[in-house]
Assembly symmetry: C2
């Protein structure tokens, strides 16, 4: 199928750029040094491409992602890097033969893991981002509690999410070192093989974690593109120009096909004015015509992907594959 | 089922508030004075509740919405209030017995309608919002062109979207009058029965349109709640507190379960700090505990609904129905 035949809006992935992104990251963080985060693409076909490169463990953000990965035969070592209060669906996945480890940071989440039939956990440690995770000094206590409930503690995790966009790199490295000092101290109290942390923004400077939970590097977005990373924007939303007026034009991509939390999308060669539910109004530098196809670059990949049913893998103007976004929902 | 048994995050609709919203609007704009916009809920079960109140025509924003409404037996008079460059799927819906009218604003969209097997159109007129719609002075020419292609022109539409939040009401009414003067002048050139316009923000002041395309009034959101409208927030996202730290807590609702283009959601009795993919970090005024259920109010209903698979209709703590969000995608 030709790209021109796709119904718009449609998520489009440039195969060559995706391949390069995957290869560059695999060279930097081979094998189990990388635990790819599937929340950034929600697509088992893309996860399979990461698995083929030797990354056998994956990070998930939702129970549905864990279930979907296991169902796709990619359940060899799944880390749900998130707290849950009802782990019964995870227990069922484990019963079916997958390996699932869940994050715990409290008495309640330890109890939920044990009650749900989960057998392995990591202690989630707050390393500076005000979100989940126990205080570093409490990690040992949580691990002991988990052990007393019969859970195996595989180690610690801690996400320095507030540093993903920190610049310059030297300062980012210094701040990351501070965060990881907290995590490695907690690890000394907890034990286990895993020190799981990091993301696309800190993959190169976080040398303390045993594994990096990066996800965005595969598809990228305009927010991460502001950093000096060796990954290219492989993802765009294919749109059709549906209306042209003097001074502006309108494409059929909007709030329902773009993650908007990082702001407006980017249209090369144009200034984006605003987005509506199904429209983006933009001022093109060169005239566009009604019916013309354009590419819209989302500001944030994760919530953009969650709005679509499929990724269309393209090579030039040819659609060579359609990958379902099969890990949506909860 | 009890609300406490719902897997979170989950969209929850208070039946009593929804019913009141629907009834208040039906009293203000009875029968065909209202053409409910399904983009705000994407749910044929909710559309059926609007249909039962005598609103037999509906507004749609996407071809998928048209297809889904027709498939649900609600295709008596569907207006696709949007331009399309490939109308073949609309032609197929018409072949199957539904009545579908599509907006046109250019030579190209008229040609697409005719080529796709559509037989009825409205001329979309720009009344001040820089988006789709021809210049008012061009409406007659577009209508003539449509007629020459064998299309029946049912009238005009024009969306004063830039005035939905205009305040105070007297100023909003004055500005709406200016916009509608453009639309009624265009209508004089075009002819036909329909002058379709308006939305939840202007339903009470737009007395020029023959029909109002309101949608948000049914479920509402915190943006519209800032206006002095007789509609209540019937929609919330049910969330579970998954982590509590000194000074803040974290709920399992985030960028993938909330439309973020209007900003952060609201948590009654708390200050929202920020949202991540699957988390909202907030400072509660009173202590919350891990496992506690809370309600999160989205800032913008339309893109929020598009992220979920179902609306759960509740009466107090009882889930009385599950309505699929069956009009998602394109």
């Amino acid at each position: 199928m030709d790209v021109g035949e796709l119904q718009t809006p449609a998520l489009v992935v440039e195969q060559a750029l995706l391949t390069a992104n995957l290869d560059v990251m695999s060279a930097a963080l081979p094998g189990n040094r990388l635990r790819p985060h599937v929340k950034a693409h929600k697509c088992t076909s893309l996860a399979r491409a990461q698995h083929r490169r030797g990354h056998l463990g994956f990070t998930c953000a939702t129970i549905r992602e864990v279930e979907g990965m296991a169902c796709a035969g990619l359940g060899g070592d799944l880390l749900l890097a998130n707290e849950v209060l009802d782990a019964r669906r995870l227990g069922a996945v484990i019963q079916d033969g997958a390996r699932v480890t869940v994050a715990v940071d409290s008495v309640e989440t330890v109890a939920a893991a044990a009650a749900g039939g989960v057998t392995e956990v990591v202690v989630d440690v707050n390393v500076g981002l005000p979100r989940c995770g126990c205080a570093p000094a409490d990690a040992g206590r949580i691990a002991e509690l988990a052990g007393s409930r019969g859970l195996t503690v595989r180690g610690v995790m801690g996400y320095e999410g507030h540093l993903m966009m920190a610049q310059p790199v030297a300062e980012q490295a210094r701040l990351t070192a501070e965060c990881m000092a907290l995590l490695t101290a907690a690890h000394a109290d907890v034990g286990g093989d895993l020190i799981s942390a990091g993301g696309t923004g800190t993959y190169a400077v976080n040398t303390w974690a045993t594994e990096i939970q990066a996800g965005s590097y595969a598809l990228m977005d305009t927010a991460y593109a502001q950093l000096d990373l060796p990954f290219a924007n492989a993802l765009s939303v294919l749109a059709t120009v549906v209306s042209v007026s003097p001074g502006w034009a309108v494409a059929d991509v909007g709030l329902k096909s773009l993650g908007m939390d990082h702001g407006n999308p980017t249209i090369p060669g144009a200034t984006v004015w605003f987005c509506s539910d199904e429209h983006t109004t933009f001022a093109p530098e060169e005239p566009v015509r009604v019916g013309q196809r354009i590419r819209v670059l989302p500001a944030h990949v994760d919530p953009t992907v969650a709005l679509h049913e499929a990724l269309h893998v393209v090579d030039g103007e040819v659609v060579i594959d359609r990958w379902p976004v099969d890990l949506r929902g909860w």
